[in-house]
């Protein structure tokens, strides 16, 4: 997703010289094409995310559209107050690119996980939140949002080649994408973890269970109206995200259900409590926090049978 984002940004920057790219010393092998093409519009600000956001406020106020590039948590949590008091408070077109959501940097350890960004950004109504699920949606999302008047946060998965069946590059800012029709329940997913969801739905189909899949790819504005219509059709919604269980798409769905008199059971699959002394690859971590395809199949199976099934810490870590 990073590469297609930068490729698309270069095309936009060719036509609009307001676009600048700033990095806090990250993006090796990804952002060089922009830097080489527009050396006067590229700034490595050093390992200084707070200053990068503060400066971008000054740049945007003077008419530029600065894109800020770094790893998810370094560019969201670290300078969070700068984001609130700068681009959000001043409503300026600053673009924050947080690369590597969830466990994308798996073996890098806890300091590199991106588990809070969607929640933190979603609670600030003045910043658009864009979370593409695959390469083509990344391109579509950037093309539809790059010149919005206010700030936007982009959460980009680290992978470059993933493609979600049925998404077909669709993106609607403030809408959602229904990528698979099914009758028994609905998966509501966000971002690149959707690949696991599609795989889980395939496996469930072989067991005779038919799952719908809805992809939420933006907040602020949030796809509330569309979601109400979908939730009213199903007895069960399973939300999936590589994010903490609070604040992200699961919380959003729960809020919509609670406020709209909808009788849909919700199961939120996300990271509950992080076990700091366990590390591993993205796939390993996703499995151990219950958001891999195999774990989602298991959870869906139990939910549909109305078992009193909870994926506790013990279930996750004591299994062989």
């Amino acid at each position: 997703m990073r590469n297609i984002f930068i490729e698309t940004l270069i095309k936009l920057a060719e036509k609009d010289n307001r676009i600048l790219l700033l990095t806090a010393d990250l993006g090796y092998t990804v952002i060089e094409p922009f830097a080489e093409k527009f050396p006067q519009r590229f700034f490595n600000v050093g390992v200084a995310e707070q200053n990068m956001v503060g400066m971008s406020t000054g740049l945007a106020q003077a008419g530029f559209i600065p894109f800020l590039y770094s790893i998810n948590n370094f560019v969201s949590i670290r300078p969070y107050e700068f984001i609130r008091n700068g681009p959000i408070l001043h409503q300026l077109p600053v673009r924050i690119i947080g690369v590597g959501g969830g466990f994308d940097y798996g073996s890098a350890g806890v300091t590199h996980y991106g588990l809070e960004d969607i929640g933190l950004m979603r609670l600030q109504k003045g910043i658009g939140v864009v979370v593409p699920a695959d390469r083509n949606q990344t391109q579509a999302a950037l093309l539809k949002t790059w010149d919005l008047p206010g700030p936007v946060y982009y959460r980009l998965g680290k992978g470059n080649k993933n493609s979600i069946d049925g998404l077909n590059g669709r993106f609607d800012f403030g809408g959602l994408q229904h990528i698979r029709q099914g009758n028994d329940f609905v998966f509501i997913s966000i971002g690149s973890i959707t690949q696991e969801v599609v795989s889980a739905a395939d496996q469930l189909e072989q067991k005779g269970i038919s799952a719908s899949i809805v992809v939420v790819s933006s907040f602020n504005p949030s796809p509330t109206t569309d979601l109400i219509k979908i939730l009213k059709k199903f007895p069960l919604a399973i939300t999936v995200e590589d994010h903490y269980v609070t604040g992200g798409v699961g919380s959003f769905v729960a809020e919509v259900v609670a406020e709209n008199n909808i009788s849909c059971q919700i199961k939120r699959c996300a990271v509950d409590t992080l076990i700091p002394n366990v590390t591993g690859s993205r796939e390993f971590m996703n499995s151990h926090y219950g958001i891999s395809a195999a774990k989602l199949v298991e959870i869906a199976w139990h939910c549909l049978r109305n078992d009193k099934f909870t994926l506790s810490k013990a279930d996750l870590f004591l299994e062989k």
């Binding site: 600048l20 200084a48 707070q50 400066m55 008419g63 530029f64 107050e81 008091n85 408070l89 001043h90």
Partner: protein, 270 residues
Amino acid sequence: MNVLGEKTITSYNIRKIILEQSKRANVGHIGSALSIVDIIAVLYENILSIAYPEDLERDRFVLSKGHAALALYAAFFLKGWLTQKELDSYCADGGCLGVHPEHFLKGVDFSTGSLGQGLSMGAGAALAASIKKSSYRTFVLMSDAECNEGSVWEAIMFAAQHKLSNLIVIIDYNRQQAFGYTKDVLNLDPLNKRWEAFGWDVRQVDGHDVSEIMRTIQGLSLQSGSPHVIIANTIFGKGVSYMENKIKWHYWPMSDQEYQLALQEIKAVK
């Protein structure tokens, strides 16, 4: 007023408004505002080139020590950017003038109040001018204790690296902060050498000598290849003897008696 009947931006006029409005609203931050009065007077009377507040080519000004905004509001009123009615809404329910300045207000380029953020915004404004080859300057007025914030040093390094000589920082070096004196909290000395070591052009002035402040700013080269910092040695609470250099007056409001005494005393430094 001058002979044309216009209000003039003098230190005395700003100090008087600070006292009047602090008393009316019964709020503190008086000492911090009095500390920067002479700097604000010079900037708005003699230095800042602002044809009108929305002019894209205007000089930018960031009051990074946002808690002294009353001094700024006083200058805005004297410039005719605020009405008496608006000024009288300082800290009032439903008013637009809070203790810290908001960019919604005509003349405020950036909202401030969270210390350590103004210099980054100013560096961005200065970089923008440099990219666009605009001639406007960016001024950032900071508090001394604000230099406690690590983010300030990120911005200091960036501005020096990119040779932003169109960026002019003024530090209100009154040597005290909310909870004590800077030397006892996080010692900043030698402040001039620290900024010099980071590649800035450093000047030191008496922060209450309007002529010296003006001469120093006018003498700065915008092609020097390094950003400028003017360390203005100031007295916290300047002009009101019982407030000067007293920690209490960071937050404390005045009693009726204290108010009357303060009004009399500022006439002496007129």
